[in-house]
Symmetry: C4
Subunit: 243 residues, 4 copies
């Protein structure tokens, strides 16, 4: 088999995996009709794969498009892309360590984006990757106070990537959250457990002062969990297929 057919086969597999990622994220309550998940091109670090503009529950491998990091579709005259593809391009550009990005309107997470002084942080070991704080991207700082809150160009994408920094997740005020992973499965895993940790943290705060994970606990736990991602992926894939 030539290198070219190798790459083609890897791409085919990755498109199918990306379709599954969409279905898992819907099934787990992270995505609804909106939000999207991307993965870096396996052969070209300056490209990424992302579904065409459609509801995630219905995405198939045939709906996956290829983009450069500026958010331009590689193949001209293709179907309509997501308006916010710049999230994916700019985050992947600024984070060589990241291979995948999930952007969602995760319902338990958004409340933490609109309240100051209550940082979303690791209170459950499943959310340990969040560490002691999750940055909030305030789009007003870049786009003024009359934007549509969307990451609709590269400048906004770069600003968002700036807020994200080296963190696994960045909240977007009044909008949602963007999560990265070293693999597609890790990004999905983190997106699911960001929602889980947010719900636990909000519920715990109503009971009283909360003991969060220490930095040492968060790092150690995150390292351990990283080895368990396939277990979750396989289980979630089966659940998603039943729906």
């Amino acid at each position: 088999m030539t290198d070219a057919t190798d790459t083609a086969a890897a791409l085919d597999e990755l498109r199918a995996e990306l379709a599954t990622a969409n279905h898992i994220l819907v099934s787990q309550g992270v995505l609804d009709a909106f939000g999207h998940v991307s993965v870096r091109h396996p052969g070209r670090a300056d490209r990424f794969l992302l579904a065409r503009n459609m509801a995630p529950a219905s995405v198939t491998a045939a709906d996956i498009l290829e983009f450069d990091l500026d958010g331009n579709a590689v193949h001209a005259n293709g179907p309509k892309p997501y308006l916010e593809r710049f999230i994916h391009g700019e985050v992947l550009r600024s984070r060589a360590d990241a291979m995948a990005v999930v952007h969602s309107h995760s319902p338990a997470v958004i409340p933490f984006s609109v309240v100051r002084g209550v940082p979303l942080r690791a209170v459950s070991h499943m959310g340990s990757f969040l560490g002691s704080d999750t940055p909030i991207f305030e789009i007003r700082d870049t786009a003024g106070d009359a934007s549509d809150l969307l990451i609709r160009d590269n400048a906004l994408g770069r600003a968002l990537a700036g807020s994200l920094g080296r963190k696994p997740a960045v909240l977007m005020r009044g909008h949602g959250v963007t999560v990265v992973g070293a693999t597609l499965r890790e990004a999905v895993f983190r997106a699911v457990y960001t929602e889980f940790n947010a719900r636990i943290q909000a519920d715990a705060l109503r009971l009283g002062p909360v003991t969060a994970l220490t930095d040492g606990e968060a790092s150690a736990s995150a390292a351990t969990n990283a080895s368990q991602i396939d277990r979750a992926w396989n289980g979630w894939r089966e659940q998603a297929a039943k729906r």
Copy 2:
């Protein structure tokens, strides 16, 4: 094809679309056994389509009746209509810009109808159409303090339409919410995201003071979202069909 058959075909299609709207609203948790959704007649602005008195989950195109704006059934001796059809007739009469109306007992929304001083407003960009305030219709002001809370005649319908004004939604104290849209799909979209925004807002208020969208953000975001309605509709339709 004559104009008459054109209209007949358009009507058939719209009845099927209205049945789908019912199923989506149940599937998305906006309607339960109660609530209803109407659409203005495509050929006659003084008429609207609405299911007969039945649970929304079971509505088919054959269950759709035609009414004038006074809430009179166009075809005599038909099946029993919804008691509150006057919501639809009077709101459509007062709002030439509206083509569809959803009335629901949306569970996260009702709490905002019974508490004063905590206006339901856009805190999430998906709820941006709500703007900075959602009016509350207090039926006691029209019907006194011993009514059954229902919009059971044209006078109450007009009073409700008066509270709604030019807004996309009006809360009904102790009862529910009525939402309008420039299309059937927009009304459904807004009904789903009114519930979503209410849940986010209530959860955020428990964490601390909430940063809501500015008026400029709300307008800009609402304009953008209006172009994404088909994405949501298509995804929801598939989900509803699986149930």
Copy 3:
């Protein structure tokens, strides 16, 4: 057809309806593996029908037993009955107007049973039958402070019926709720909307002071809703059948 075959046919139909009531109450989140629903015998006011001791989701017409109001099985050597059948017998004895009883561990309702000073009351018109207050049965007043909280004999059943009085529902501290209806469908309807109203009321109380229905509103709304029960029943039956 003789009277005897008439009654037999009516009984068969009622057993099937009672099985459906069980499935609806599970599907609507009122019953889980526990709780039960009874209906008075159509031909004999001093008897009632109730499933044998089993999870409600699995009840079929063949699982329905017949009891006298003392809670004795009419047919000897039958399968094991529910321990708390005395709820049904004594409530039906004390309430000639009631034809059916639902006892559940309805999750949004139980919190109101363990907190004093926050009466469960009609804040939504769907819960209007609750009126301005729901009594709480404190079993310690009858059984002392070391009981198993269950209505395990006729004396406790009578005490519960005493707390219920002429109301549609009585909370049972730390245990659940018992609801009556003039028909089986009304009892099911009220059980579903007791849960609904409790959730709305708790959520509203977290936002601020709540405007409840006036007594006049509650009566008028309850009277209207009583005519809409079949709509809900038919929709719920279809939903339950799909699970």
Copy 4:
């Protein structure tokens, strides 16, 4: 039939039952992609059965492994085991009365693990087995403040078993909960109702001061409920099979 074939048949049955326990716990919202449930070997009190490292929803009888109480797999070169099998071994070692153990990240329970001064306790008779307090295992006391929070060796398992003492459940700070039962079905029953009671308790605390069960009520109710476990198991098994 010889004793050996007797034991083999009993083991086969128990493996199937353990697979069902996994499915019930997922279906009831106690386990997600993580957590596990074990049962003591029917013929050897120093061994236990536990699935290989995989998502609980997918476990079949063929995935069940056998371990000694030190957490060593009895059959060499088998598939990868759960990292936290030491929970099961050490708890079963310290509790001769326990035949089964559930470890979960039960979402309504975790908040009680990270807040001091609000003990998880019986407020609902279905949670009566919890009594007046649930101990919290603080792993920092054993492993210092930079652990990954997991029970990854026998020493940590022993420390957890020490916190559990003679109780039915022990919370694990920032992690989850471990529950024991005199039978597999009782452990499953308790895991489901620990989640249920936690949700009720948290919701009730938001309404006002809560009346919990007395010690006498808790003991009496727990004794009664122990006789109703098969009812729940049979209902839950049917529900889990439908998913």
